[in-house]
C-alpha cells in the first residue's frame, strides 16, 4: 500500500471553525459528495470549484473548532482533500477526522514554512512532510500509541466491530 500523499496546498489561518468548513444550512445531508460543493464557501467561495483531488489543507491553530459535526471532515474528504496539516486541532474535529479516515498532522513548522500553491508530499506512516516547492521537510507530532493502533486498524468502525466480536 502506498502510504505517501502528494498534493497542492490550500492555506488558511487560525480558528477555522466547522461552520466555515461546512455551514449548518447544508446539514440536511451527511453524504460527502453532497456536502463538498459548499465546503469552505463562507470564507473562500472559490475553493470547492477549483480544489483538485489529493490537495492538502494547511492551517493555523485550533483547526476545526466549534460544532461536533462529523460533516466537516466528510465535506473535506468529499471535496478531495487528502490530508490536513495544522499548528493544532480542536479536540472533537481531531477525533472525527481519525474516525472518518481523514489523515491529520499537527506540525507548526510545516504551517510556517508553507504557502498556498506549494507542492507537499506527506508520508502517512512516518508523519514526514516534504515541501517539494521549497525543498524543506518536517516531522509531525506523533500520535499517542492507542491512536496509532486505532488508525492502524482502519479507524473506530473496525475497532468497535472487533470489540463486539470479542465480547
Amino acid at each position: 500500500m502506498d502510504t505517501s500523499l502528494k498534493g497542492k496546498v490550500w492555506k488558511y489561518g487560525d480558528n477555522i471553525d466547522t461552520d466555515v468548513i461546512i455551514p449548518a444550512r447544508y446539514l440536511s445531508t451527511s453524504l460527502p459528495e453532497e456536502l463538498a460543493p459548499h465546503c469552505m464557501e463562507d470564507i473562500d467561495a472559490g475553493f470547492a470549484g477549483v480544489v483538485s483531488k489529493g490537495d492538502i489543507m494547511v492551517a493555523g491553530n485550533n483547526f476545526g473548532c466549534g460544532s461536533s459535526r462529523e460533516h466537516a471532515p466528510l465535506a473535506l474528504l468529499g471535496a478531495g482533500i487528502s490530508c490536513v496539516v495544522a499548528r493544532s486541532f480542536a479536540r472533537i474535529f481531531y477525533r472525527n477526522a481519525i474516525n472518518v479516515g481523514l489523515p491529520i498532522f499537527e506540525c507548526p513548522e510545516a504551517e510556517e514554512g508553507t504557502q498556498k500553491g506549494d507542492e507537499l508530499e506527506v508520508d502517512l506512516e512516518k508523519g514526514l512532510i516534504l515541501n517539494r516547492t521549497r525543498n524543506v521537510s518536517w516531522t509531525a507530532r506523533p500520535f499517542p500509541p492507542f491512536l496509532r493502533e486505532l488508525i492502524g486498524l482502519g479507524g473506530l468502525v473496525p475497532y468497535v466491530k472487533k470489540q463486539l466480536g470479542a465480547s
Partner: protein, 419 residues
C-alpha cells in the same frame, strides 16, 4: 492513591485504566445521545460496526431539536431516519411538541446526573458539566461506538481550575461570567482541558446560570466545564433524577494545569463581537452599533431565568421599530412556565415573535436567518462567519438582559441604560 481533579475522579470511577492527565482510558458511558442532524451518520456507522442493539435503550436517546419542526423536505427525511431507528431500538425519543433543545431538556428531565460520563453528538454537550457530570461532545461515529459498546475512549484532560469569588451584581448573569472567562483565555486557551468551576462564587450561582457557563466551555476549546456538585446541584436533581447516581467530588491536593480566580462582583454586562467568542468587551462600550434582530433562546440561554430576565426589562415596553425580537424557550417545561407566569403575554405585547422549542436560528437553521449586512444580538454561543445566515451578516453574543435592552434601543446596549 492519587489526588484527583473532578474530571479525573469521574473518569477513575468509570475505568480500570490508570488515570492521569494525558493518559487514554477506556471508560463506561452512562448516557449517549444524538439530535436530528447527527443521528443519521451515527446510525449509518452503528450498522457498519456490525452492531444490532444499543447497549441499553434507557441510556441512549435521540432528540429532534435542530431543524424541527422540520424546515424543509430534506430535514424531514433526515428526521425520519432518527425516528425509525429510535422505534426499532426502543431507545429514548421525544417527539416535536414534547422534546426541547437537548442540553436544556436532558438535565431538566433528570437524564444527566452528578458523577456521570455523558457523550452527546453535539459540541454543547458540555452543558451537563453544570450538574457535576463529565459531559462532552463527540462526532457521530464516536457516538455510534458508545451506543454499540456502552463505552468509549477518553484522553484524561488537564484541568483548568476556576475559583469564583463574590456574587453577581444586578444586571449581570451567567453569560457575562463565561464570556468574561473566554475573553481572558481566548478560544483555544482551554483546548483539550476540563474547566473545574468552584468556590463560594460558584455556590451563589443558580443551576440555570451554571448551565450557561458550562455550555460555553467548548468555546474556549474545552472538553468539559464541570461545576463541583453542591447543595444547589443536589436540590435540583433530587426531584428529577431518572436513575440512581453517585455524586463525585475532587480530592484535596489535586494537580491543576492552570488556575484562574474571578471575582463575580466586579463583572459587568459584556458582549462578544464578531467573529469569535473571545472578542469580549463591555456592552456599554459598543458605541452606536445598530442591530436588525435579537434572538433570546438556545441551549445557552433559553431557560426560565433567562426568559424571566428578558421579561423584566421588556415588561410594558415596545421593541424598537427597526428590530425583530425572536424568543424561543428551550424546552416545554420552560415554555409552559412562561405561559403560566404571563411572560409570553409580556413578550407578545412588546412585539416579540415567540416560537416553541428549537435550536433554529442559533446555527442558521431556520426561524430567523440573517441577510447580508444584517446584525443580530444573540444569546446563543457562536458568532462565527455565517453562523446565523449570510456570511456577510454579524452576530453579537450577549446574555438575555443585554439582548432585551438592545431590542428596546435598536443598538447594542447595556441593560442599565433601560433600568
Amino acid at each position: 492513591m492519587s489526588s484527583y481533579t473532578l474530571a479525573e475522579a469521574i473518569i477513575a470511577s468509570h475505568t480500570k485504566d490508570p488515570v492521569a492527565a494525558g493518559n487514554i482510558c477506556g471508560v463506561n458511558v452512562d448516557f449517549a445521545f444524538t439530535n436530528d442532524i447527527t443521528a443519521p451518520p451515527a446510525i449509518r456507522e452503528f450498522r457498519r460496526m456490525g452492531a444490532s442493539k444499543v447497549f441499553d435503550p434507557k441510556r441512549c436517546a435521540i432528540l429532534p431539536d435542530h431543524f424541527t419542526p422540520n424546515k424543509d423536505i430534506a430535514s424531514a427525511e433526515q428526521a425520519v431516519v432518527g425516528r425509525t431507528f429510535a422505534r426499532e431500538q426502543g431507545l429514548l425519543y421525544w417527539e416535536v411538541g414534547r422534546v426541547g433543545v437537548e442540553h436544556a431538556f436532558l438535565p431538566e428531565q433528570g437524564y444527566i446526573l452528578p458523577g456521570d460520563i455523558i457523550l452527546g453528538a453535539d459540541s454543547h454537550t458540555c452543558t451537563g458539566g453544570a450538574l457535576g457530570a463529565l459531559a462532552t461532545g463527540v462526532g457521530s461515529t464516536d457516538l455510534a461506538g458508545a451506543w454499540a459498546l456502552g463505552a468509549t475512549w477518553l484522553r484524561v484532560p488537564e484541568t483548568y481550575r476556576v475559583d469564583l469569588e463574590g456574587a453577581l451584581s444586578p444586571w449581570v448573569g451567567g453569560k457575562d461570567v463565561i464570556l468574561s472567562i473566554i475573553g481572558r483565555t481566548g478560544v483555544e486557551g482551554a483546548r483539550y482541558m476540563a474547566f473545574e468551576f468552584r468556590g463560594e462564587g460558584a455556590g451563589s450561582l443558580s443551576m440555570d446560570a451554571r448551565m450557561t457557563i458550562a455550555n460555553m466551555a467548548i468555546e474556549a476549546g474545552g472538553k468539559a466545564g464541570l461545576f463541583v456538585p453542591d447543595s444547589v446541584t443536589l436540590d435540583y436533581v433530587k426531584l428529577r433524577a431518572k436513575r440512581p447516581f453517585r455524586a463525585v467530588l475532587p480530592d484535596e491536593g489535586a494537580h491543576y494545569a492552570r488556575r484562574m480566580t474571578l471575582d463575580l462582583g466586579v463583572l459587568e454586562p459584556v458582549v462578544a463581537l464578531p467573529h469569535l467568542p473571545e472578542n469580549v468587551r463591555p456592552a456599554k462600550e459598543c458605541g452606536d452599533m445598530k442591530i436588525d434582530q435579537v434572538f433570546i433562546g438556545s441551549c445557552t440561554n433559553g431557560r426560565l431565568s433567562d426568559i424571566e430576565q428578558a421579561v423584566g426589562i421588556l415588561n410594558g415596553r415596545r421593541v424598537h421599530d427597526r428590530v425583530r425580537l425572536i424568543v424561543i424557550p428551550a424546552s416545554y417545561e420552560v415554555y409552559n412556565a412562561c405561559l403560566d407566569r404571563g411572560y409570553l403575554k409580556v413578550l407578545a405585547e412588546a412585539g416579540a415573535v415567540i416560537s416553541t422549542p428549537t435550536c433554529g436560528p442559533c446555527l442558521g437553521g431556520h426561524m430567523g436567518i440573517l441577510a447580508a449586512g444584517e446584525r443580530c444580538v444573540s444569546t446563543s454561543n457562536r458568532n462565527f462567519v455565517g453562523r446565523m445566515g449570510s456570511p456577510k451578516s454579524e452576530v453579537v453574543l450577549a446574555g438575555p438582559m443585554v439582548a432585551a435592552a438592545s431590542a428596546l434601543l435598536g443598538r447594542v446596549a447595556d441593560p442599565r441604560e433601560v433600568a
